[in-house]
């Protein structure tokens, strides 16, 4: 499933660029014509990366970023591009494959295709905002929206204030207009945006997997007995097999039950502390918010340092203890199966014997103690205001060279001010690089999965306006490339990440750093001083919340684009609006659809 998303975002990373810092007008037009003609590329950009430190070839690395429709394998896509009659791909890459060949032969083209396949990198993770929509569909739906507005202007005097009649007239007009015959078929939706959109459908999968697992175990346990029932009592070997299968399946069954129970108890505790208790007790809610705020606080205060220390002294050991208990409880059946005597004679006597009433009592006391702590802090904060002010007042800090933007990057932003914005960001993986690469890939799997299954309405968390955002680990795990196509401006885009998707962004970028690097070519940005990603707390806190450091880090990592292609030039909101109008015009006539049509035409 994730592969489908990852294949939509490709980067071709080609070392040894010998051209300049600009794409010629001729090549620019040829690329536009090519990408327009193949009609499956939403966005394309070309940028130059500085050569990898220590690489034998110190010429810049050319990156071609392609964001394409769902369902195309990279080979099919590249085949279409390379074998297109206008030859733009040869004009771009030919000199890096066979220098001096102006008109490629079939063999040259095959060589180029092979080379591009070896250079290509599908995204290690990514998010598609306006998904399930082809380039053609977006263009046609935009046309439908535009024409409907024009028609509505004509019909307005006739239908006045009768909304239902007005919507009906527009729907009739759309139905009878042969230009929009295609729209009668409902807009395609992938499973997680369509039938699987409800939370019930999403929960059904893990529940089904658990049930299936228990069914499989039950079948395995039953098999020897079924054999005996059919064929009579087994011999020695058969009895041994039956015994082994029975014990193994029973052990696995018990481990599974224990694991499920431990998971359920932990999930219940998490829910209890994060949902009903904050809802019921103000002091607990405030304390919980305060802990999160302190852990996220970008500028240190005594309170944030104390909370961080408290987290290490109390929080981490407590969580580890809970995890250890859950693991011990889950795997206890295995220990009993392997060493029953040791468990009975050595371990069991050491375990406290508590009744259910005692366990309940301890839980109640623990909750009361937690609430008491929250109340105490609230009370201290309220009545010792002087002390409190000092405790929460920021400490001095130094953030050097903030709010600096390279002119080439700003110029790119200014050129795209009327359309979809774009960024290239290049960072280095922190050492040990294999560990950073592994962590990043896990984080990106989570982000991609969440984006595919849960964030299906065009927002990544609470961050809107992302068309295609994707991450690539390149150069054998040494560098990390982030490409994004988004609505708005860069600062606002990062604000959205800080406020709307802080955890995912921190997880994806915290394993990187910036090393000094020379500009790829004159006029392009370089990095004079090394710097780290903003400091994080407990892996997921702080990080991107340090706005100055984060924006400065992101800005310094940016590279300008030399070429940019945007097939549709529509915002995510406009795309969603057009699809919504199509569904409303050609759907059943009801209040909701009528209102959607009216609101769409008045924008």
């Amino acid at each position: 499933m994730l592969e489908i998303v990852r294949q939509q975002m490709i980067c071709i990373v080609a070392p040894g660029w010998t051209g300049g810092a600009e794409v010629s007008k001729q090549l620019h037009d040829a690329l536009d014509a090519l990408l327009d003609d193949v009609a499956m590329v939403h966005f394309a950009s070309i940028g130059l990366l500085p050569a990898l430190a220590g690489a034998p070839n110190q010429q810049p690395v050319l990156v071609l970023e392609l964001a394409v429709e769902e369902g195309f394998r990279p080979y099919d896509l590249l085949y279409r591009l390379v074998y297109h009659h206008d030859g733009a791909m040869w004009a771009l890459f030919g000199s890096m494959v066979a220098p001096g060949v102006a008109v490629p032969t079939a063999k040259d083209k095959q060589q180029l295709l092979s080379q591009l396949m070896s250079w290509h990198s599908i995204a290690d993770g990514g998010f598609v905002g306006a998904r399930d929509r082809s380039v053609r569909q977006i263009k046609m739906e935009s046309d439908l929206l535009e024409q409907t507005r024009i028609e509505a202007r004509k019909l307005k005097p006739k239908y006045g204030n009768d909304r239902t009649a007005f919507a009906l007239a527009l729907a009739r007009w759309a139905y009878t207009n042969p230009r929009f015959g295609w729209a009668a078929t409902p807009a395609p939706r992938s499973y997680w945006r369509g039938k699987g959109a409800s939370i019930g459908a999403k929960l059904a999968y893990p529940v089904a997997a658990i049930v299936l697992w228990f069914v499989v175990l039950g079948i395995v346990w039953t098999l020897p007995r079924a054999y005996n029932w059919f064929f009579g009592e087994p011999g020695h070997v058969g009895r041994a097999i039956e015994d082994a299968v029975t014990k193994t399946s029973e052990c696995l069954l018990t481990i599974s039950w224990h694991g499920l129970l431990a998971f359920a108890v932990i999930a219940f505790l998490v829910w209890l502390f994060l949902v009903p208790l904050p809802a019921q007790f103000v002091s607990w809610r405030r304390w919980l918010n305060s802990v999160q705020q302190e852990l996220d606080r970008p500028t240190d205060t005594l309170s944030s340092l104390a909370t961080y220390a408290g987290g290490w002294i109390i929080g981490v050991p407590l969580l580890l203890a809970i995890a250890a208990c859950a693991i011990a409880y889950t795997f206890a059946p295995l220990a009993y199966a392997l060493a029953p005597d040791y468990m009975h004679t050595v371990i069991e006597p050491k375990l406290p014997k508590l009744t259910g009433l005692q366990i309940t009592g301890i839980a109640v006391v623990a909750i009361a103690a937690v609430l008491g702590i929250g109340t105490l802090f609230y009370w201290l904060n309220r009545y010792f205001t002087g002390l409190s002010k000092k405790f929460f007042h920021p400490l001095e800090e130094d953030v050097p060279r903030a709010q600096q933007i390279h002119p080439s990057v700003e110029r790119c932003e200014a050129d795209l001010v009327g359309g979809t914005q774009h960024m290239f960001s290049l960072t280095e993986l922190r050492g040990p690089q294999w560990w950073s690469a592994w962590c990043i890939r896990q984080a990106l799997r989570i982000v991609t999965f969440a984006g595919r299954v849960f964030f299906t309405q065009g927002w990544l968390g609470n961050a809107p306006g992302i068309h295609f955002g994707h991450w690539h680990i390149i150069d054998n795990g040494r560098r990390f490339l982030f490409c994004s196509n988004y609505d708005g401006n860069f600062g606002g885009y990062l604000d959205d990440f800080i406020n709307g998707a802080a955890v995912g962004t921190t997880l994806a970028w915290r394993w990187t750093e910036l090393h000094p690097r020379a500009p790829a070519l004159e006029g392009q940005p370089g990095i004079a001083k090394a710097r780290s990603f903003p400091p994080t707390r407990f892996v997921i806190f702080r990080g991107v919340k340090c706005e100055l450091r984060f924006k400065s880090y992101a800005r310094d990592s940016m590279l300008p684009h030399l070429y940019r292609f945007d097939a549709c030039n529509r915002t995510v909101d406009q795309i969603n609006l057009a699809t919504g109008l199509r569904d409303a015009l050609f759907g059943e006539r009801n209040e909701k659809n009528d209102d959607l049509i009216m609101r769409a035409i008045e924008t």
């Binding site: 007042h393 920021p394 700003e410 932003e413 609470n462 406009q574």
Partner: protein, 478 residues
């Protein structure tokens, strides 16, 4: 571990305009000064005399204690410098803490023209960058306010030292019975200002009344001081970045502490065009363009005229999600979308607080051979030009795709050519009006409003280098 400065202990160093718009000083004049080559010392001397005259009031002087500012302050002056001006006066930015790119490149640059989506700037007469043909490069901006009818005390700049341009007060600005400020189209102005936490203009009973009038919405307008004053905690809970200059003593606080950036625009308002539009349509349509009634109250306001605080106590998401009351593209809804753009009310309010401006402009009037020209001398104080002024201008006001709109920029200050449309949502499908061009910029620039100690440092030239962190207090107090 040393604590960062506290605003309550630094208000003596903060220029007064960050605390108050000097609403009781109803005459104003804005001086746009260019230092002539070779006259830097005389310019500093003039600045020094200006500082010594005590007209550059601090935030501490305003409404402190029982004395109302009306009783004690009859004239006030604020001084700010463009990046070119700071350079001219000998300040060079520190390598480790340079000024933000937006400020150093200047509003007048070609790059920022594109970034801000400005219309061609053929009619700009002044800006903040050097080398723009036909435009005065403004080095120093002096804002002067004084009691209506009184004689101003400020020593006027010498034309031999400065190229002087003034933007004069519009005498009709406060002509209404209610004494409130009105801009040339006839709307109440200066409403819906953010309230700086720890530096509120209203105190005591006035504050209690403002809270009462705003009810649950009061906190929507309270913004952390770091959004407007450099060196303090901002809405991200982070200390705002403080650039530095090489000449400033390198130990202790930085040069820009207690300062702010001003985004300034001289916006001419085509009053005749607006009147014609009003005559062709009606007052209600004009109010919908603005998003407010002419008396300043929200469009959905019922009952008698409310206070300024009540006029700012509303949201959009729940009561007016579709823009039936205040159209989605209306000027005030674009410049402060309140709770309407995010995923829910709280996150939207939090997000919109990252993009607030403290407006300190005044209406102006200039006499020309062709007749009077009126407009607003717009001044917006902010601590992060890119995140605040530029974001609002580029993404909200001038963005033809703002919200879910299509090809519509701001109906009042939009830069698209005339003939553009404005949608008035409504049941069943709203209506459209065709707009003329109602405004045009005549100049603009980014300025740095220094703290009072930094201002003295600039005025005193290199002598100011003797100022240490402990001297900031003494310098500002003297």
């Amino acid at each position: 571990m040393k604590h960062a400065p506290r605003l309550s202990e630094q208000s003596h160093d903060v220029q007064g305009m960050l605390k108050s718009g000097f609403g009781w000083l109803k005459s104003s004049r804005f001086w746009l000064l260019t230092i002539r080559d070779g006259c830097e010392d005389q310019a500093r001397a003039w600045l020094s005399r200006l500082v010594d005259s005590k007209l550059v009031v601090s935030a501490k002087c305003i409404a402190k204690g029982k004395t109302k500012p009306e009783a004690s302050i009859e004239e006030a002056v604020s001084v700010a410098f463009s990046f070119a001006g700071l350079k001219k006066l000998g300040c060079t930015e520190a390598e480790t803490h340079p000024f933000p790119t937006a400020f150093s490149s200047g509003m007048g640059s070609a790059l920022r023209q594109d970034l801000l989506r400005d219309a061609p700037r053929d009619e700009w007469r002044w800006s903040d960058v050097e080398g723009a043909d036909g435009r005065q490069t403004v080095h120093i901006l002096v804002a002067q306010w004084w009691v209506l009818g009184a004689t101003a005390r400020m020593e006027e700049p010498d034309p031999a030292v400065f190229v002087v341009r003034t933007v004069e007060n519009n005498p009709c600005s406060f002509a209404d019975k209610d004494g409130g400020l009105r801009e040339p189209f006839g709307f109440r102005d200066g409403l819906a200002q953010p309230v700086i936490r720890d530096l509120r203009e209203e105190e005591g009973a006035a504050l209690r009344q403002a809270r009462k009038d705003a009810g649950q919405f009061y906190e929507d307008r309270v913004v952390e001081p770091g959004e407007f004053i450099l060196g303090y905690r901002n809405e991200y809970d982070e200390l705002t970045y403080c650039p530095n200059v090489n000449e400033w003593p390198q130990s202790g606080d930085r040069f820009t502490l207690n300062g702010s950036y001003l985004a300034v625009r001289q916006i001419e308002q085509y009053v005749d065009a607006f009147r014609q539009f009003e005559a062709a349509n009606d007052q209600q349509t004009c109010e919908r363009l603005m998003g407010r009634r002419k008396d300043g109250m929200p469009l959905g306001w019922q009952g008698p005229l409310g206070s300024n605080s009540a006029a700012d106590a509303f949201r959009y998401r729940v009561e007016d999600a579709n823009g039936f009351v205040c159209p989605k593209g209306a000027h005030i809804r674009r410049s402060n979308p309140r709770d309407s753009l995010g995923i829910d009310v709280q996150s939207s309010i939090k997000s919109s607080k990252l993009h607030r401006l403290l407006r300190r402009g005044r209406p102006y009037r200039e006499k020309t051979e062709a007749g009077d020209r009126e407009g607003i001398f717009f001044i917006a104080c902010n601590a992060d030009l890119e995140r605040q002024f530029e974001f609002i201008h580029q993404r909200w006001l001038q963005n033809p795709r703002f919200g879910a709109l299509d090809k519509q920029d701001d109906p009042i200050v939009g830069s698209q050519p005339s003939g553009r449309t404005f949608t008035v949502p409504g049941s069943p499908s709203g209506s459209e009006v065709t707009l003329a061009s109602f405004t045009g910029a005549r100049g603009g620039g980014y300025f740095f409003l220094p703290g009072i100690a930094a201002l003295k440092f600039i005025a005193e030239g290199r002598a100011g280098a003797k100022l240490g962190p402990m001297h900031r207090l003494e310098a500002a107090a003297s």
